[in-house]
Point group: C2
Chain length 316, copies 2
């Protein structure tokens, strides 16, 4: 840790907000945090590497936003209230402008969610961002992957496939639309939706690797199978322009949606629509939990559809 690192840390420290439960924040060997009685701690960690998790040309502000967003999305999938996070930032050089812009994006998302940056480090190395996010849930109320039951509806929030369409465009050298690029670079973690699903949903996961791949985790952990009706997948106006052969792979197998996928008993349909309305997001029923194992994707005629490839196959 050298002079340059101290400068970066003081730049960060000068800009972060305070929370009453941060007894001691950045500036000691570790942060000291007060956990209220009756609450459980929820912890998740995700890393973004240049060229793997975002295109090299992504702006510093977008990287800042996304590095926190992917972690908040995991907290959302547990139904947790975000509280604190740490940030480990590896940078090729100590570039103050880059760090300032990174923090612009990071804090633009951190502030409305009330999450405080309480520690971390800046190191020299290839561009890499590791965030560990913490949140709280009332004991026993966390949403989990392992609670799906036979007969549950399967729901997703928002729309699917836009981020994958933008990434596809970037990789092909084409221009992505502004709206799809926003979905790729500035995903909206569904924290408010996750909070309101506690007590309503039986199982929940966030969609980072593609619907079919992520839903398969819910099935595996719950010991269940699932059927997904592809024509029911919610699509943005832009994606609705594509025919099914082009749209379904993006919606069913594309990653980076950061929507929630959850299962709930049919008796809760009205309550769920109300809860999601309060949370300010749309929710769509896209299938059902069935006996067996694995996920079957069905076209409109009841036949099984097989994607050319399932999920992101690369090591990332």
């Amino acid at each position: 840790m050298g002079t340059a690192e101290f400068d970066l840390i003081s730049r960060i420290r000068a800009r972060i907000g305070a929370r009453g439960d941060v007894v001691l924040g950045i500036g000691d060997d570790a942060a000291l945090l007060a956990v209220p009685t009756g609450m459980q701690l929820v912890v998740t960690a995700d890393t973004l590497n240049a060229g793997v998790h975002f295109p090299h040309a992504t702006t510093a502000a977008d990287i800042g936003w996304k590095s926190l967003a992917v972690n908040l999305s995991d907290l959302a999938a547990m139904g947790a209230v975000p509280t604190w996070c740490t940030l480990s930032l590896s940078l090729p050089q100590a570039e103050e402008t880059w760090v300032d812009q990174f923090l612009d994006g990071f804090l633009q998302l951190a502030e409305p969610h009330g999450i405080a940056l309480v520690g971390g480090d800046t190191t020299r190395g290839p561009l890499s961002i590791s965030v560990t996010a913490m949140g709280l849930v009332e004991a026993g109320t966390a949403l989990r992957r392992d609670g799906a039951r036979i007969g549950d509806d399967i729901w997703v929030t928002g729309t699917l496939g836009d981020a994958a369409m933008a990434l596809h465009g970037v990789l092909e050298g084409a221009e992505a639309s502004a709206s799809s690029r926003l979905r790729l670079d500035r995903p909206s973690p569904r924290v408010a939706a996750g909070r309101r699903l506690s007590g309503l949903a039986n199982a929940c996961i966030d969609l980072s690797d593609g619907l079919l791949a992520d839903l398969a985790h819910v099935c595996e952990r719950s010991g269940m199978g699932a059927e997904v009706d592809l024509p029911a997948l919610p699509a943005s106006a832009e994606l609705q322009q594509l025919d099914a052969a082009a749209r379904w792979p993006l919606q069913a197998c594309g990653g980076d949606d950061y929507e929630l996928c959850f299962s709930a008993p049919p008796t809760h349909r009205e309550l769920i629509l109300q809860a999601m309305d309060f949370a300010g997001v749309d929710a769509t029923r896209i299938g059902r939990i069935v006996p067996g194992q694995g996920v079957r994707a069905l076209d409109g005629g009841g036949a099984e559809w097989h994607p050319a490839r399932s999920g992101y196959q690369h090591f990332r």
Copy 2:
């Protein structure tokens, strides 16, 4: 996240220990942890990058050990009991052998300290390891940097300068001794010592960047100055062979010691020696807290000594 990542995660998951307070570990969107009433949460994050924080030729097992050790050392400096950690591992390829050996070293240190790995991710990218470690302290009892008082003794645990000597050897292409190399590659975080210093020490920090640089943080946070008696710095038998001109820069400015440096009132000298004896480490008085600001390093004759450079100057 692709198939390769799942394999790595399942390899990790199969080997990690359990704790009763881990309600939900690896395998969901986030971990779910029970924090006992009356305890405060202590959180620290540190990253190791190849070629910056360890020589490129360091073994996977040593990297595993050290990536956890530097974080446990921060918990030790707060007087915390280690409880949980997350691990974000960026690897150029999915090399199972490398991961297995990395985990050998990581778990060799994790197990005796009872810390459970509860989350994280493996990603493709240049070799980089980010660990966030969590621990617990009874509310109000954490050791901090800002509590030093005028007249306090300054103490350090163990011996200083061996890791810097080994690193110097590696950088110069010379062979480091096995014992000094062990200090560089396998530092022993002083967790037991930190626990026993709670209630005895007024301020504490772990030594990662060099004694004078780290002690300066204590002075700054406490609004105090410090005097260090260089001839009093504890040295290994190997370092005692060097004359002062060669030894003092390594001991006062070298990094990677991962010993604790703390201040305490002179009335506690006997208690401290007993406590450190119970903790199984030596402790040595090396100076005192004085009015003013900054750290003065004194040679045996009472004159101020100035190192050629203070602390690690590179950005890391």
